[in-house]
């Protein structure tokens, strides 16, 4: 059947030749941008409290956010077809850099993640977070979907190689995010449900092997997750204190700047990985639902953009990037609320720190580019 744009639904794609206002001129998507700005604003308010009312810290974060938004703006200007041409190169560079990290990377906090390029220190796994979904989208772009076994195996190899290298650093959180980016791309490409379920089965069977491969601190985290009370002064301390902070917040919270758990230093890492607990304590369930609503809005908008994309590359990329954003959110909030083990994943766009910020915003830039560079077939 011939491609018929009018069958995509009653939402007629906007005419790229009829630019709508300033935002469209810069290839920005207004709903997505609003959601992101709202989220970052909320994040700064929480950060001010979590950081012990340190305005200088908030300012530093604002500067990082500004930079990240600039990266997003730049990414939005790159057309999807250009991006598609660059993809194999980006992927190759990313993998080579991971090799370089393993060979001569700098060690920080017991893991080897940084590559010193002389001028800047760079974390190649951040580049790979984008390169893997790009590569899967690129690889499957001209293949018939759902992919056949051969294509599926090649795609799986493209995912597994960088994931293993990142896990070797060791950086469990990032390897999880990279793996999920690739897996989501495959899921969206339509791999069969039977395969999905059998993979789950294999994963369950492989758990003991994984346990054997884990580093001591990673095993400790899993044990602590299973029984936090076992080690209340050591590794379990994070989870116990975080749960107390969330639970004591109740429906409406203790009020901004008044969280005793956070302000009394009970809560560790409270401005970085555990900032969600501060929010839950001070703003209560109401505040949490407000925050999750913003996230949900961004994610649904991302998925909508994915469905509106005109080719396989755009669809898979937009969908995978959006779902990785969700994984960030879920792994972090799940960890802080004690649903998942402690994995070092920040709350996206809210936690203090700049490393993942730039990657995330570059991803959103790509989403906006995919959406604003759509072309109508000649009428």
């Amino acid at each position: 059947m011939a491609y018929d744009p009018h069958q995509l639904g009653d939402l007629t794609p906007s005419d790229p030749n009829r630019r709508q206002g300033l935002l469209a001129g810069f290839h920005l998507d207004l709903p997505l941008l609003s959601g992101l700005l709202l989220l970052c604003g909320f994040g700064l308010v929480v950060l001010y409290s979590a950081g012990g009312e340190d305005f200088a810290q908030v300012q530093r974060q604002m500067i990082r956010l500004g930079l990240a938004f600039c990266v997003m703006l730049i990414a939005a200007q790159i057309t999807p077809s250009t991006l598609q041409r660059w993809t194999p190169w980006l992927y190759a560079i990313g993998v080579l850099m991971l090799v370089a990290v393993l060979l001569f990377g700098e060690v920080g906090k017991g893991a080897q993640r940084w590559l010193n390029l002389g001028v800047i220190r760079f974390q190649p796994s951040e580049l790979v977070k984008l390169a893997v979904p790009l590569m899967i989208a690129w690889y499957l772009a001209d293949k018939k979907l759902p992919p056949n076994w051969r294509n599926l195996l090649v795609a799986a190899a493209l995912i597994v190689v960088p994931v293993l290298m990142i896990a070797k650093q060791p950086d469990l959180g990032t390897s999880l995010l990279v793996a999920s980016a690739g897996i989501f791309a495959l899921f969206l490409a339509g791999i069969s449900w039977r395969l999905i379920f059998s993979l789950f089965g294999i994963a369950a069977a492989a758990a003991p092997v994984l346990w054997y491969l884990m580093r001591e601190y990673q095993r400790q985290r899993v044990l602590t997750f299973l029984d936090p009370e076992n080690d209340p002064l050591g590794a379990g301390y994070h989870i116990i204190q975080s749960k107390i902070a969330i639970g004591s917040g109740g429906m409406y919270g203790k009020g901004w700047l008044n969280g005793t758990q956070s302000q009394l230093d009970f809560l560790p890492e409270r401005h970085t990985d555990f900032i969600f607990a501060v929010l839950s304590e001070e703003f209560g369930l109401v505040g949490v639902i407000a925050l999750l609503s913003i996230y949900l809005f961004i994610i649904l908008r991302g998925l909508y953009i994915a469905t509106q994309a005109q080719d396989t590359f755009g669809r898979l990329l937009a969908g995978a990037l959006t779902l990785v954003f969700f994984v960030y959110l879920f792994v972090n909030t799940g960890m802080v609320s004690g649903l998942l083990p402690v994995v070092g994943v920040p709350l996206p766009l809210v936690s203090y720190g700049g490393t993942s910020l730039v990657t995330l915003m570059a991803g959103f830039g790509m989403l906006m580019s995919i959406h604003t560079h759509r072309k109508l077939l000649p009428r």
């Binding site: 059947m1 011939a2 491609y3 018929d4 069958q7 995509l8 001209d142 293949k143 018939k144 979907l145 759902p146 989501f184 899921f187 969206l188 490409a189 339509g190 209340p232 002064l233 116990i240 749960k243 107390i244 902070a245 969330i246 639970g247 004591s248 917040g249 109740g250 429906m251 005793t260 758990q261 302000q263 009394l264 839950s280 209560g284 369930l285 949490v288 639902i289 999750l292 996230y295 949900l296 994610i299 649904l300 998925l303 994915a306 469905t307 396989t312 669809r315 898979l316 969908g319 779902l323 969700f326 879920f330 909030t333 799940g334 609320s337 004690g338 649903l339």
Partner: protein, 628 residues
């Protein structure tokens, strides 16, 4: 088969995207479910944990190690001190509470003012002191009425106390509240719960040993803040006790012996380098600093013209004057510039060849013909002017540096002064000037740039006394964990100095003659019980012009000469080496030597079974001394 069906794939993708969206929503609902469980269903439980029944990790500060003198006398101990504190969050009406409190316990205007000042700075859930330093009676009196005052409690704390404040202020130093600057240098988690830290003296240099390691107690406290249940308890590691070489009785004698003079007296065991006394006068009350000294008291100490906070024994830098003559003489013998029978004629002054400037001898009429023994016994300056000039500054300062002059001794205290051993290098580095021959001349009698701390002087004397081993002076003898037998000694560190035994004997005999010879400058301190080898010194503070004469009466007290004396005894087997400096005391012979004698008496006589306070027997002149 491989032809792409774009429309079909678009629909397939949309389906998958919708499924993904639904999964996202499901996951978020699960998350919200979890939060509802924590925040709504179990809210009471967590609220209790967090607030009314807050699980607290209470750091258990270790008790600070005690400090003993060589005879086991306690010099620094920990005394319980009580304070009354309030947690503002737990009090409904603070003003009324304070008014009611006044009926139970004395609360002064100052206390209230401090309370309100501190309250503003702290957070609502922090404890704020209302009264500090409660007597046991006051604490007990409040305890009876405690039920009427929720949110108020008596806090007990161990505070450092120094029972010999004047004697130990400079040696032990003191502890004070941890300051921001202290926090930069310590592991703050090990100091959680510790309020005080060593600020000066032994308290600072042995901080790591004295402090110990923090313990942790996980407790559940009830709504009024009292511990309901101890969940887990890791004991703190108490600080280790220090046992000093210091003899507090001797220290007391040293300070008393200094009398009205400011100054310092240092006594060292020449066989180990152990410091027996390290006295600096005047002292101050270190207990004032423990609780936080008031600005009034602190200003008074700061502005006191006698500078009581200044540790003269460790930091005071004085011209050593004639006390260096035995060392200069020994240097002359060792380098072969003189022998024991070399004589120099002293006309009362010395002139460099081709110069008219006269380097005066203290004895205007001159000493006549002098050999080394006479030049030490009578402290002839001209002999050393010539010797120093003949040796040259390079050899002289090299030999003197063997005895630790111009270098920190390495004593186990922080902040000792280095002193100055003049040399070409020193002058180039610090004055950016070349060395002049005239400066060598006055270096020979311990004047000019030459500066030494009393500790350096005592350590040098001890090194000579034991025949040539320079021991690093040490205050701490050994460490001991309370309740344990094992003693961890701080080993003596000795560095040999090469001295020919004959040369040592020559100088040793001359120093004996200082106290025993008819013309000895310190003959007044000889006694029947033990023999003393020593050397007097008088250090110029005020430079007298070439054509003027120094008149003790006319010169203001602040500008009067410092009196010095170094000695060791008993001469046959030295057990104690002493250096005394009496600021503006005038003459070493009349002022400093008797002080040193009292210190040596107090240390040596009891060892011989004699009473150092017994009235002195008259010693007929000439009974002991024969040579002169």
């Amino acid at each position: 088969m491989q032809i792409k069906d774009h429309h079909r794939e678009g629909i397939d993708f949309s389906n998958r995207a919708i499924i993904a969206g639904l999964l996202v929503i499901a996951a978020l609902l699960m998350l919200i479910g979890r939060l509802v469980q924590l925040q709504i269903i179990d809210h009471e439980h967590f609220r209790t944990l967090s607030k009314d029944n807050r699980v607290k990790l209470v750091p258990l500060p270790p008790t600070r190690g005690l400090i003993y003198d060589r005879n086991g006398v306690l010099l620094a101990l920990n005394r319980p001190a009580y304070s009354l504190e309030m947690v503002p969050e737990e009090v409904d009406d603070i003003e009324t509470t304070l008014q009611n409190l006044a009926q139970v316990i004395d609360v002064s205007e100052d206390d209230l003012e401090r309370f309100h000042r501190l309250k503003k700075r702290k957070r609502r859930f922090d404890s704020v002191p209302i009264r500090t330093n409660l007597s046991i009676e006051e604490a007990a009196g409040f305890a009876v009425h405690r039920h009427r005052f929720p949110g108020l409690d008596i806090k007990a704390q161990l505070l450092r106390h120094y029972p010999y404040p004047d004697e130990t202020a400079h040696v032990l130093g003191y502890v004070g509240r941890i300051s921001k600057r202290d926090l930069e240098t310590i592991d703050s988690s090990n100091y959680a719960g510790t309020s005080h830290i060593g600020k000066t003296g032994v308290e600072k240099s042995y901080e790591a040993v004295l402090h110990g390691g923090v313990g942790v107690q996980q407790v559940e406290v009830n709504s009024v803040g009292r511990v309901a249940r101890i969940l887990q308890h890791d004991k703190p590691l108490p600080g280790q006790d220090l046992h000093l070489h210091l003899d507090i009785a001797l220290q007391k004698v040293a300070l008393q012996a200094l009398g009205e003079h400011n100054g310092a007296a240092v006594a060292i065991d020449p066989n180990t380098g152990g410091i027996l006394a390290l006295a600096s006068k005047p002292g101050f009350d270190p207990n004032l600093f423990v609780e936080g000294i008031s600005s009034k008291n602190y200003n008074a100490l700061q502005k006191d013209p006698d500078r009581p906070l200044y540790d003269r024994a460790l930091r005071g830098q004085y011209p050593p004057g004639s006390t260096v003559k035995p060392f200069v003489g020994l240097a002359g013998l060792e380098t072969g510039h003189i022998s024991f029978d070399t004589t120099v004629y002293c006309p009362g002054f010395f002139q460099l060849p081709g110069h008219s400037h006269r380097y005066r001898d203290w004895k205007k009429s001159g000493h006549g013909s002098m050999d080394l023994d006479a030049a030490i016994t009578q402290s002839c300056d001209v002999f050393y002017y010539k010797l120093a000039h003949d040796m040259g500054i390079d050899k002289l300062s090299e030999k003197l540096s063997d005895f630790g002059f111009g270098e920190k001794t390495g004593v186990d205290l922080i902040g000792e002064a280095r002193g100055i051993l003049p040399s070409r290098d020193w002058k180039r580095a610090h004055r950016r000037q070349p060395w002049y021959p005239g400066e060598t001349v006055i270096t020979g009698i311990g004047q000019g740039y030459y500066l030494s701390t009393p500790l350096q002087l005592a350590a040098a004397t001890a090194a000579f006394a034991n025949g040539g081993t320079y021991y690093t002076p040490r205050l701490v003898d050994y460490l001991q964990t309370r309740g344990e037998e094992q003693q961890i000694p701080i080993p003596a560190q000795g560095k040999p100095i090469s001295i020919q035994p004959d040369n040592w004997q020559d100088v040793h005999k001359a120093m004996l003659n200082v106290t025993e010879g008819v013309r000895g400058t310190a003959k007044r301190i000889r006694n029947t019980h033990y023999r003393i080898a020593g050397k007097t010194g008088t250090a110029q503070v005020f430079t007298v012009a070439q054509d003027e004469e120094y008149d003790e009466e006319k010169v203001a007290k602040k500008k009067r000469d410092h009196a010095l004396f170094v000695a060791y005894a008993p001469a046959e087997d030295p057990q104690i080496a002493v250096a005394v400096i009496a600021e503006n005391g005038g003459h070493g012979s009349s002022v400093a030597a008797p002080i040193a004698r009292k210190i040596m008496d107090a240390y040596l006589l009891p060892q011989m079974g004699l009473d150092p306070n017994a009235p002195e027997e008259a010693i007929p002149t000439g009974v002991i001394a024969g040579e002169e």
